[in-house]
């Protein structure tokens, strides 16, 4: 691998040449090893149609460029007397960059650009920046309407990070809950319970679909033959029943220990899950409808009564995966993106209406059926809006 091979054509070798050229300059200065790089200099490939940019002491030449969307190759010449870095910027974000181009040297940079307006840097940080306008092409228009699979890798990864962080917090909070229950500290147990529930609501769009764990963690008494006395009444609500209804942590230790173990198992199961692009909006919409049909109508936290803060947390959990698609949806269908954003705002406003004066949460038992119905309708409208995303992105 130590001998240069100009036959490794295309993008990789233009990157290699940059390294080699600059490396050559640097090592020549450093006084060693230059022969290795010099031997590569001769093999420098010339990319047809490269866009020339000359960077002088004070500015770029030209200062204003227009290129079509897609793959573009730039050839940057450093005509100043200092080493320069050349960057294409989208706001403060670097789209592509080439570092340390030595004075008198040229360097190539390949960038895959979306339509839009970008800045280009021109030498010293104090120098004015140039402008790069990227115009739409047939290919970029096609990708806008139907993003390629790789456009979803980032959003899916980000959602997995979110699930890992939230389920990690849930696991920690359930451990704190078990510790507080064990020491009979009712106040600490209630605090840890609430923290664990918030994290749980954040992941419920996915965790709710893992049936065995869901049945262990979150059964409600109404679905069990023996209600609160049923041996299958376990998990969160069994603990909630003790901490609020019985006003005591007594006898909860085995339940809390089991919950902590199940939460750890949930974290591992979520990590192992694989998602398709359509799952991001799909799971969120399904969960919004489930909340509208059940918990919002009948209440989930019958003993603690803090359903409203849990529903607010649930909205955050629905918004995370959906927000990751909005940049793509905003390109493909601005109307859809706006409808989704508006629906989230409306749902939050509906919860806020029930929140009472100040930030004091209202017990859900105080929320009358009509208000519950209106809240459920907001969640259904949210689901309807979210359901527009997948078709807009060509995912159905």
């Amino acid at each position: 691998m130590s001998s240069p091979d100009p036959q490794r054509a295309g993008v990789p070798s233009s990157r290699l040449m940059t390294v080699a050229l600059v490396g050559a300059a640097v090592l020549a200065l450093a006084g060693g090893g230059a022969f290795y790089f010099a031997s590569q200099k001769a093999a420098r490939p010339v990319e047809a149609g490269a866009i020339a940019v000359r960077v002088g002491a004070k500015s770029c030449e030209p200062m204003d460029l227009t290129v079509p969307a897609g793959r573009n190759v730039f050839e940057i010449e450093n005509a100043s007397d200092r080493p320069i870095e050349w960057e294409i910027l989208d706001g403060v974000m670097v789209v592509e960059e080439r570092e340390n181009i030595a004075p008198g040297f040229k360097s190539q940079l390949t960038a895959r650009l979306k339509p839009g307006t970008y800045d280009i840097t021109c030498g010293l940080l104090s120098n004015p920046r140039g402008k790069l306008t990227v115009t739409a092409s047939a290919h970029s228009e096609a990708e806008r309407a139907k993003p390629p699979l790789k456009a979803f890798i980032g959003p899916l990864s980000e959602y997995k990070v979110y699930l890992a962080l939230q389920s990690g917090q849930m696991s920690q909070a359930t451990q704190a809950l078990a510790t507080a229950v064990d020491s009979g500290d009712l106040a600490a147990a209630r605090t840890a319970y609430a923290a664990a529930r918030i994290a749980y609501r954040h992941v419920e769009a996915v965790s709710g679909r893992i049936a065995d764990i869901e049945n262990a963690i979150d059964p409600i008494a109404a679905y069990l033959a023996g209600r609160e006395q049923d041996p299958a009444f376990t998990g969160f609500h069994r603990i909630e029943f003790g901490l609020w209804h019985e006003n005591s942590a007594a006898g909860l230790k085995p339940v809390a220990d089991k919950l902590a173990a199940d939460a750890a198992a949930l974290r591992d199961r979520l990590k192992a899950l694989k998602f398709e692009p359509a799952d991001l909006a799909g799971n969120a919409s399904r969960e919004a409808r489930r909340l509208a049909e059940g918990p919002i109508v009948s209440g989930d936290s019958l003993y603690a009564g803090d359903d409203l803060s849990e529903f607010a947390a649930a909205v955050d959990g629905l918004e995370k995966p959906v927000s990751l698609l909005l940049p793509l949806a905003g390109e493909a269908s601005p109307d859809t993106a706006k409808a989704v954003t508006d629906a989230f705002a409306a749902t939050r406003a509906e919860i806020g209406k029930l929140g009472g004066p100040g930030s004091a949460p209202v017990a859900y038992s105080e929320v009358p059926p009509d208000a519950r119905k209106a809240l459920a309708a907001a969640f259904v409208a949210l689901a309807d809006a979210v359901d527009r995303i997948n078709p807009a992105l060509g995912l159905e």
């Binding site: 295309g10 290699l16 940059t18 490396g23 570092e99 104090s126 980000e158 398709e276």
Partner: protein, 272 residues
């Protein structure tokens, strides 16, 4: 094949891409990219923690302690440079060099780690560094927040392995990065660790098809490790001027080969 409707779009992408190794990007990348974000998040949390202590030493006028903390603090930044560098304003504020400024070291705009490095080593003093130190801490905290809300672009993550090696080759092997403190070997450690992490994360995706490639890459990383190990000093490294000319050549050759080889990684994973 996960969703057949993607096949046509991907085929088009393949035709339009000039990469010789181009293939369809797979959702198998989701896992490595997610794990990489967690790695970067842990490193930037460490950077904030270490910078807090470093800045406190600078502000307390403790020159020796600040010198001691300089290199170990930077190592977390160097490991995550492919992501940290995406924020051009913060990269300038945290890690730019005197060359980027009209009046070099004398330029009042010269900020960040290297401005403090210059004061500590060239002037042996923390005089005038207090606002620079405060700004540095604010900037690394801002970086932590921005990373938390960034959806990592897969091509930047996978391409990051090569970017790290190219930077070492192009702008660091000469010893110009930490030109006042000569703590460059610490930075190298961070750069190599960051690059190797990326390779480790995508290894399962290419282990079968690219066994020879991985063997070569591993061998070069091992060469780097062996070479750097000779210069270990406690938890860190001796100054860069202690590096022999022969070892500098060994490192330069390994780094250049790594940069060349790793630049094909994006293409191998369908991300060109």
């Amino acid at each position: 094949m996960r969703i057949s409707s993607f096949a046509s779009a991907s085929a088009l992408a393949l035709i339009l891409s000039s990469g010789a190794f181009a293939q369809e990007a797979s959702l198998d990348l989701v896992e490595p990219i997610a794990d990489y974000k967690i790695y970067v998040s842990e490193n930037v949390a460490k950077l904030v923690e270490d910078t807090t202590a470093f800045v406190a030493a600078v502000k307390a006028g403790e020159v020796d302690k600040a010198k001691e903390l300089f290199a170990p603090t930077r190592i977390s930044y160097e490991a995550i440079e492919p992501i940290a560098e995406l924020f051009s304003d913060l990269d300038v504020a945290i890690d730019s060099r005197a060359d980027d400024y009209e009046k070099a070291e004398a330029d009042p705009e010269f900020p960040g780690f290297h401005r403090i490095e210059y004061g500590l080593w060239e002037k042996n003093s923390t005089e005038g560094l207090e606002p620079v130190a405060d700004k540095l801490l604010a900037d690394v905290k801002e970086l932590e927040g921005r990373i938390a809300s960034l959806t990592f672009p897969p091509e930047k993550v996978v391409g990051g392995a090569a970017v790290l090696m190219e930077e070492v080759a192009a702008t660091k092997i000469s010893g110009e990065e930490d030109r006042y403190s000569h703590t460059d070997l610490w930075d190298f450690r961070g750069n190599f660790d960051g690059a190797r992490k990326i390779v480790e994360l995508v290894r399962p995706l290419i282990a079968d098809k690219e066994a020879d490639f991985l063997k070569t890459v591993d061998a070069n990383f091992d060469t780097v490790d062996t070479t750097l190990a000779k210069y270990k000093d406690g938890d860190g490294y001796v100054t860069y001027d202690k590096l022999t000319e022969d070892d500098r050549k060994v490192l330069a050759a390994a780094v250049n080969t790594l940069a060349e080889d790793l630049s094909t990684l994006r293409g191998k994973l369908g991300l060109d």
